[in-house]
Amino acid sequence: MGVLSFLIYLSIMTGIYAILSLSLNFQYGFAGLVNFGHVAFFCIGAYASTLLVMGGVPFLAGVLGAMIFAGIFGFLISIPTAGLKEDYWAIVTIAAAEIVRLFFLNEAWLAEGAFGIRGIPQPLRALFSTSTYPAFYLGMVLVFLGITYFALRLLTRSPFGRVLKAMREGDDLPRAFGKNVLRFRMKSMAIGAAFAGLAGSLFAHYITFICPWNFMPIETFIIWAMVVVGGQGNHLGAIAGAAMIQVFYVSTRFAKDYIPIEAELLASLRMVIIGLLVVLFMIFRRKGLLGEKKRSYRLSGEG
């Protein structure tokens, strides 16, 4: 692989993971929802978009379908937990992600089960040569990343976002203002899930082959590491975290070309480092590299 095509690959994967980390950051960093099963929405998005597009639907409709299916699932799993503490959120979302993976693993009639789906069509593939297509795809991922960034930024700066941030600090204040915190939780779960579904769709049509093994629980942890390192409650932080972790993750793959180390051992050590990074950030720099900016709001009519 040439240097340029490798950089394009890295950028595309970083872009896709940045969307994942933005969407998790929206749920955790802003709404305080401890979602330990984010990979489920990524997985549902990837499969929904693949099945729709292979069924003859245009690409953009597939993307939309991915967001809708993932969003609905996010909404559904928040039903039993909306009124419960963070601990229950964590365990239910982990469980839900496993169910989703087991579903796609066992239900071969729907999505080929463990064999995975090959030959996923790529949008506008015929207009480009093999060497120029990745550059186009990168452009497309960046456009979707931009849309995600601005949409979530708009949301978190709106009155809706202010309620989420108040809710994160405890239910009492938003309740006192007559806000239905359960509904806010369910909505933010669905919105975050929908954007993770978008990332899944972009992933599937880029890699062109998906199977349940792409969506192991460890993916969720990697997305968490991105949010924790970059800075919870900060959109740019989430993107920066995604870039750092992704560059580390992908570049260490080449370490075996320079030092004599088994691939298996390397994979373990890589995860040890990412795990340690999360633990150390939680102890020494809980707000992450960038952290949330304090915003002050002026009453309208003043000044």
């Binding site: 365990i91 469980a95 373990s268 633990v279």
Partner: protein, 306 residues
């Protein structure tokens, strides 16, 4: 499969999960956070026993005891190195940190021992008939050892000064501290018991089946399910929860759900419907959702003793 056999299988599963659930619920109760690295201590203990038993060729009993004690000390050290710095910062931070620690521990195990399946140096097990169920001698040992641990734990909690301090501290830490209880020492003891019980649970599971680094994650959901089912903070509830889960998991696979739809033979709408074995892990999730919807405090709730 005869009912006695399903009961025996459920019991074995229950005692293994029970040992893990006791430890999880103790730390949960005392330090008020869900420790996602708990089941990784089970795996660490199981692999340490493998080190003593297979690599150093020690007797399996000595290996298990050594591994449990060592894991207990590792538990205390990790609490001092990590969780002690985070006391009072809120359960979310602690939970995310323990999630990170779980990944570190799992991958250290994988880095040292590799990802392939391993087993202890024990004789080939031949099942014998016992009260109508077929059990291997090792499975009987598993039940006996786990039961012994649980009885010992009960005696510790109610018959010793340490147990009294532990109950007092989890009820009201500041009051306990004011009454002259060394809460720091109590917390250390709770970590020791919690993680060494996890290690014993892990070793028992390894004895019955095999060792692989993903075991910790596989165990996570059933152990949390048993803990929540029994009511968080209640070690007796944890055991009852584990028993209930063991029964449902094993009976769930042999239950003909077609009978419900046909109203027990009144209609003939559908044929036989069974839960596919590949969905066995889903059973604990389904139970979890049902409890959360009906009774999030668990079947035994929070028992307060004064």
């Amino acid at each position: 499969m005869p009912i006695v056999q399903i009961l025996a299988n459920s019991l074995i599963r229950a005692v293994e999960l029970g040992l893990l659930a006791i430890g999880l619920t103790m730390v949960y109760d005392l330090l008020k956070f869900a420790n996602f690295s708990h089941t990784e201590f089970a795996i660490l203990g199981a692999y340490l026993a493998f080190l003593f038993n297979v690599t150093l060729e020690l007797n399996i009993f000595l290996s298990a005891i050594g591994a449990a004690i060592l894991t207990g000390f590792i538990g205390i050290s990790l609490d001092r190195a990590i969780f002690e710095r985070l006391r009072g910062v809120g359960s979310v931070t602690l939970m995310v940190t323990s999630f990170g620690l779980a990944i570190v521990m799992r991958n250290i195990v994988r880095a040292i021992w590799g990802a392939d399946i391993k087993g202890y140096a024990i004789e080939l097990q031949r099942p014998v008939k016992f009260l109508g169920a077929r059990m291997t001698p090792i499975q009987m040992w598993i039940i006996a050892i786990a039961a012994l641990c649980m009885v010992a734990f009960h005696l510790l909690l109610h018959k010793t000064k340490l147990g009294k301090s532990m109950r007092a501290t989890s009820d009201n830490p500041s009051l306990a501290e004011a009454s002259g209880i060394d809460t720091v020492k109590v917390i250390r003891w709770v970590w020791f018991i919690s993680t060494s019980f996890a290690a014993i649970g892990g070793i028992l599971i390894g004895l019955e089946t095999q060792l692989h680094p993903q075991m910790g994650f596989v165990l996570l959901l059933p152990v949390f399910c048993a803990t929540i089912l029994g009511g968080i903070g209640n070690p007796y509830g944890a055991v009852v929860g584990a028993l209930a889960l063991g029964l449902v998991e094993n009976f769930g696979l042999y239950f003909n759900f077609g009978n419900i739809i046909n109203l027990g033979g009144v209609f003939d709408l559908v044929g036989e419907i069974y839960v596919p074995t590949s969905y066995k892990p889903v059973i604990s999730f389904a139970i979890l959702i049902i409890i959360l919807l009906i009774r999030p405090s668990g079947i035994m709730g929070r028992k307060r003793e004064r």
